[in-house]
């Protein structure tokens, strides 16, 4: 086998080892590369920043453990932002596996004693898992009380003052969707926003896995989605913006360094593959 053929057909295992090494190094030894802030994340930040204190934000936690590395830092940063801005948070999960994750985030952002905190019920409520997927969303937007009678801890919604203010989609000032699949942003657009007055009545911001962002661009351009946090980089950008104003820890630094190196490595793979391919092809042409 000639060298060019070898380049064109490297055993995949060598590639795997390289990926492993290149992603590991920056995690152990951060490179502190700078981070450009994009328009998609800025719009989420500005929208949240512009809400009047006391506005109601729905935090819909629709992901499971598998996409946690991407969705969790996004959601946590946004929860922190909402808390700092004095917004009223109604958190819930349309994914059963999202319920424990949401509780953990609330504990980290509000207090480790959550829900035994003074503001529970007045400025923050955790409903936990709301069954029914898209049907559940639809019901929740029509009438929050019929979707689920109690919060995550078994307290009746009628005894929570915040839920008396937040009766249906007309009361939502922002829907923050932490999405990783179905049900996710598409269902919110269809069953909540679409049925209750469109983007101006229920603005949606989405924190999504990077994989699903290209598919959302249509909804973004048409204004159905106001802003997007794009994967881990989106989380990093948001943390950075919060860091500037509120001193929120910018924790995604090492991970984003690892990202950068991983991307460069894959680009090198592509170049290598093509060099090998072109070399073997030109040889084939001669013979």
């Amino acid at each position: 086998m000639s060298i060019s053929e070898k380049i064109a057909r490297i055993d995949r295992r060598y590639l795997y080892i390289l990926v492993f090494i290149v992603v590991t190094i920056p995690l152990l030894n951060p490179l502190k590369l700078p981070l450009p802030i994009g328009e998609h994340a800025t719009r989420v930040y500005d929208k949240t920043e512009a809400l009047a204190a006391g506005s109601i934000v729905i935090e819909s936690i629709d992901f499971g453990p598998s996409t946690r590395p991407e969705n969790y830092p996004q959601m946590k940063a946004h929860l922190f932002h909402a808390k700092e801005r004095g917004l009223k948070v109604v958190a819930l999960a349309f994914w059963p596996s999202g319920a424990p994750i949401g509780e953990q985030a609330l504990r980290e952002v509000y207090d480790s004693d959550f829900p035994d905190i003074p503001e529970y019920g007045t400025s923050v409520v955790y409903l936990g898992y709301v069954p029914g997927a898209e049907v559940g969303m639809q019901t929740f937007a029509d009438n929050t009380a019929t979707a689920k009678g109690t919060d995550h801890y078994g307290t009746s919604l009628t005894s929570l003052p915040l839920m008396q203010e937040c009766r249906s989609a007309a009361d939502f000032d922002l829907w923050a969707e932490w999405a990783s699949g179905t049900p996710g942003e598409q269902q919110v657009i269809q069953f909540v926003q679409g049925r209750h007055g469109g983007p101006s009545a229920v603005p949606i911001v989405v924190g999504a896995t990077a994989v699903s962002v290209p598919g959302m661009m249509n909804f973004y351009i048409s204004g159905q989605i106001y802003g997007i946090l794009n994967g881990l980089a989106g989380a990093g950008e948001y943390e950075y913006l919060l860091n500037v104003k509120y001193g929120y820890p910018y924790a995604q630094g090492p991970s984003l360094d690892a990202q950068s190196l991983g991307h460069v490595l894959i680009l090198l793979f592509i170049i290598l593959g093509n060099v090998g391919y072109l070399l073997t092809r030109s040889k084939g042409g001669k013979s």
């Binding site: 995949r12 598998s66 699949g181 179905t182 269902q187 994989v211 699903s212 598919g215």
Partner: protein, 261 residues
Amino acid sequence: MYGINDGLVASFVLLIVVVAEGFIALFLSRTGKAHPKIRKIAGLEAIEEAIGRATEMGRPIAYTTGLGGIRDQVYYQTIAGLSILGYTAELAAKYNAKLIYFPYDPTIMPMAVDVMEQAYLRAGKPEAFNPDNVQYLGGDQFPWAFGVLGAMYREQTAANIHMGPFWAESLILAEAGFYTGAIQIAGTANYHQMAFFVVAADYALIGEELMAAGAYLSKDPTQIGSLWGSDIAKITTVALLILGVILTAAGVTALLDFFAL
């Protein structure tokens, strides 16, 4: 009596238009008044070749319909996948190749057994059908994907056919499946996963091609008529797009106003 709900007038009119176009085309084709020809879809033509190769090599074929169930929003892709399963199973029976189907959602298991049994019957070999070749792997995304992967490696499949709604596991199946040396034919209408099938599989069905597959393979004039109807609906769409752009550019908002109804 109720009228049409607020904000849904335009949607209802469009629905009627699309369905009517489908019906007229279907009817004309069924009664023989029109004979729409169908273009080749390479991915579907390749199924027979893949099965032939599996037979030659004496190795099985793996078939999946992705994370398909009948109770979710994308159930229509599952139905499309099951239609292709019927065709594939019939061919496999004809060629005496072993076909293993990995259902994801337990709700479709009886359907899959039914579809395969009927296919073997059509091929004249009902005794060759083994229900054990419908292997349930736990209805959760990654256990299922890892289970399919392991089975593909252990059974050394010669062809992997994936037709249905896929999420993140698309690339796991298509890339790892490549190293078993199998021919891979994959199709999905989940927008964010098509790219991986296009990149990693030998043949890929994109979006609407998957939904058309059942009609394509049936060769039944009624069903092909409905494909013709879908083409007419697409022409209508293109016309509406152009009209909308021109009218908006000219400052006439009539069409947009209608859509907002």
